[in-house]
Amino acid sequence: MRPEMILLVALRALRRNRMRSLLTAFGIVIGVAAVITTVSIGNGARAEVEEQVTRLGQNVVLVFPGSRSLGGVSIGGGSANTLTVEDALAIHEEIPEVIAASPEVRSQRQVSYGNRNWFTRIYGQSSDYLQIRQWPMEYGRMFDEEDVLRANMVAVVGQTIVEELFEGADPIGAIIRVRGMPLEIIGVLQTKGMSLMGSVQDDIILVPYTTAFRYISGRSHAMVINTQVYSAELMPVARQKITDLLRERHGLGPGQDNDFTVQTQEEVARAATETSRVMTFLLGAIAGISLLVGGIGIMNIMLVSVTERTREIGIRIALGARNRDILRQFLVEAILLSCLGGGIGILTGIGVSYVLAFYADWPVYLSHNAIAYAFLFSAMVGIFFGFYPARKAARLDPIEALRYE
């Protein structure tokens, strides 16, 4: 039997039972969609973590709200509201080893210019932020202390924003809108395209933290305080002083735990690697389970269908189909179904990811690899779970099968 004939025979068999075919594929749709969505969420979280690590400049110490004794890293950001803007200012002013401190507040927002829209991340920072990060400007200017003091509606944007809202044109002086409020662009950042998650980092808008707190984020506390220390040797001292200062400011007695976490960039990097590893493992488990469930669904319906199609199989054998022709037909049917399910599942997964990004304010990044693997997996699920029913079909006795009512 020619391969294209097997394909044709399988396609025709699927067409004969459209409803059953679609229902069978549905199990895989759910599995693959779940995989794509979880991987997108995981990637989003990881990108966020990696970004936190890569954007650290020289001699950086980070202060997170809440206590994390096991070295976890803030990914969704600011679960505890313990860090204030005043804490950041105090660190800057009272600790001589610290050059700069920027209270950070992040939000994901839709921004618009003319009839163009873009969904991006808006970071509230102090005017020192670019110095801490050692991130140069492309052109224009960074907002200054005056802008921060007055909570001016000014913004410095990354390259992605320039591309998406201005098609690469010079945006200086343009007014974009966030939640209906005007924001004037005063500067453009250099691209970070060289780094691992390059384009992700360029998808950013920086505003004075005062502006972010008041008009954009709806939050009242800092999610991180970014601080920079004069030199590497001073890091331990600075770290101790920051801890002492914050304990005092937060009124913590000798027996009480810290309600914040101070970490150096190395510690953050190490924690990030660990987080990524755990995340990958969890996602793998979820992916495996959901695909398994889909595969068992395919096997279940295929088994029922072999019984239901006993007479059809008898007819085919009487007309000269060999056992292996029947086997291949059922196998190809299973693979086609799981690929169909995989295809629809990918589209669903992408859709769900976007919905999550949009409405749940969750950082989501689609991975081409995940999509390719999900598709490959669903084909393999088809082979694996289609094999047993196919073999059962191929082994039917033609005379019994033809007598089957």
Partner: protein
Amino acid sequence: MAVVVLEDIFKTYHLGSEVDVPALRGLSLVLEAGEFAAILGPSGSGKSTLMNVIGCLDRPGRGRYLLEGEDVAKLSRDRLAAVRNRKIGFVFQSFNLLSRTSALENVELPLMYKSDGLSLREIQRRASEALDQVGLSDRADHHPSQLSGGQQQRVAIARALVTEPTILLADEPTGNLDTRTGLEIMEIFQKLNDHGITLIMVTHEQDIGRFAKRTIVMRDGRIVRDDPVEDRLAASDEKEKLPVLVAEEESVQ
């Protein structure tokens, strides 16, 4: 030349481990090319079992079976499938068409399992030709549920013919059809036989047997009578007479 040679064939069905049902008991039969044989006999006499053996769907328990001189009993399952595909055409009492599948696609089916793969275009060409032969080219797109019983059986005959088999095997081909439609099927069979196809047909109706050239009567898994048909009927003539016959029957009642 002998197309089918059966020598001392036995076939026993085993029900469970205890009960043995003998279906064929030492049956011998020779069929020459171009024959049209009708197999008659009461229900349970082994007619279908014999057809399954001749059609290579089932192997005899004992005995020798030569199909065009080839000892079929020794062939592997795959070779048997190829023999069924190339040499045998089946027509069943219950038509056995694939539902929700057009007449044309039903007829294409055996060609798809041919070992020397044909192109789809060639398959479609041959299938429409076979449909044409049974006078159904205008129904190629119809599904079985959109066809009458007689039309479905004609599709089944086209499907059996499309591979140009050596023998056509028909197990009670008119069993599910009314008299007129049954005669139409017999007319097609006689025409095919005139063109040289060897035909074996099972029936339990004595009258239907008279369209064949030879009647073989079975009882308890053996052949008890084997006669040439003296007063052979032409199905086309009988069909002509039919309306009159129906009218006569009505006047009698």
